[in-house]
Amino acid sequence: MNVTIVDYNSGNISSVINSFKEVAKEKIKIEVSSDLDKIKSSDKIVLPGQGSFKSCVDALNSIDGLFDTLNEFTIINKKPLLGICVGFQMFADVGYEETETQGLGWISGEVSKIDNQNGKFKLPHIGWNELNIVKTSQIFRDIKNKSHMYFVHSYEFIPKDKNVISATTDYSSSIVCSVEKENIFGTQFHPEKSDKEGLKIIDNFLNL
């Protein structure tokens, strides 16, 4: 099996690469690339993302044909894709970080700033928080409810269809932190930095 981590200049992806290689061992080939043919021939794709919604969307759009290739992979061919952090947020129709920016439109909804209740809660939301698993998701196999995951973000993805939500986490409000819609998976938290439970989620995705 070939899994490609999409390298589209979306910030620091070393930890994503390290964790996937650690879990994959020799069984699964992990590629890091933005090559369109390589992406097309992959079995699965990981879409990381750091920085702002706008900077990630801009970086993705600056690679000719990447959007169409990802769209074909995910929406037409329905092959598994995992978005992490801003990579997950980009599934939305629109994001409001920096300025209004169109997202990939794969899961209808918007990305807006977390309401920190007039400074009562610190932003970014940084650190370990608990998963409230609200529906069974394939990437949560053997993951206990209330497991801790590592978060770092100031914006949240609010999907229109609540049925896609697989987990939330409690901060200043209930924040959507994981979705599953058919072949599309996304996590707001960083499985690559979430210790053994995080690596288990990666393992579950690789073994779908």
Binding site: S14, K122, G127, W128
Partner: protein, 251 residues
């Protein structure tokens, strides 16, 4: 609920740990990678390396340490010490650091914080504030605590938040190495002023000091070095103690 974080910090010099962990089962007590792994296996919420290498020719050693650590530890890794430029930050991130802590350069050239937070995202930019009390206010020190900048620490903290810092690592120079506890007055003043998380540092001598840093200093995370290194307490003990005091931690 978001948990309070415990962050063990390792001083690294020329690629080797200074003041290492006193554990018998270590193959190489001077190897930062092995020690970081012990901490992350023990439940550390993050790991921090402070590079105290003095000479420029040995600066490269930290990159190798970070690269090897990031292949073994799957909790966030912060690296600080001697970070001067956007390029230095870029190199550390590429080696596998998740966050970079910037001290002197943030004071001398605040544009580094603006530029790097735009380029890499605020989530990986930690500004380290070394402050010392003078009369009834705190002043910032740079160059590992040798130079007094005369800058007011509280004003500087706010300025760094506005420049794009994602977190502040606040060290009381008065308390550092004394083992009498954090300067919680300094911590609570800064946490009240900024909306970004504050990591308390400097002065931990026992587990109650960690509790105080969170309860009195209102810190989001507590950093400590020597109480963990010399085997006085494990990270696990520290967490269990915080939990017994009603502080939410990841156990």
């Amino acid at each position: 609920m978001l948990k309070s974080r415990i962050i063990p910090c390792l001083d690294v010099k020329n690629g080797r740990v200074v003041k290492g962990i006193n554990f018998v089962d270590l193959k190489d007590a001077g190897d930062p990678v092995e020690q970081a792994k012990i901490y992350s296996d023990g439940g550390a919420d993050e790991i921090c390396f402070l590079d105290i290498t003095a000479s420029n020719e040995n600066r490269e050693t930290i990159y190798d340490v970070v690269e090897r650590t990031s292949k073994k530890c799957f909790v966030p890794l912060t690296v600080g010490g001697g970070v001067r430029s956007v390029e230095d930050i870029n190199k550390l991130l590429n080696c596998g650091a998740d966050k970079v802590s910037i001290n002197t350069a943030a004071v001398e050239n605040p544009r580094v914080i603006e530029e790097s937070s735009k380029k890499f995202g605020s989530q990986c930019i930690v500004v380290a504030i070394d402050a010392k009390k003078k009369n009834d206010k705190w002043e910032i020190f740079t160059h590992g605590g040798r130079n007094n900048s005369g800058i007011n620490a509280l004003e500087f903290a706010k300025k760094m938040e506005n420049s794009g810092a994602g977190e502040l690592l606040v060290t009381s120079m008065d308390r550092d190495g004394t083992q009498v506890g954090y300067d919680n007055e300094l911590m609570s003043n800064i946490t009240a002023l900024v909306n970004i998380p504050v990591i308390a540092s400097g002065g931990v001598g026992n587990l109650d000091h960690l509790v105080d840093g969170i309860k009195l200093g209102n810190a989001s995370a507590v950093l400590a070095a020597s109480i963990f290194h010399y085997g006085k307490h494990s990270v696990k003990e520290a967490k269990e103690y915080l939990d017994s005091k009603g502080i939410p931690v990841r156990i």
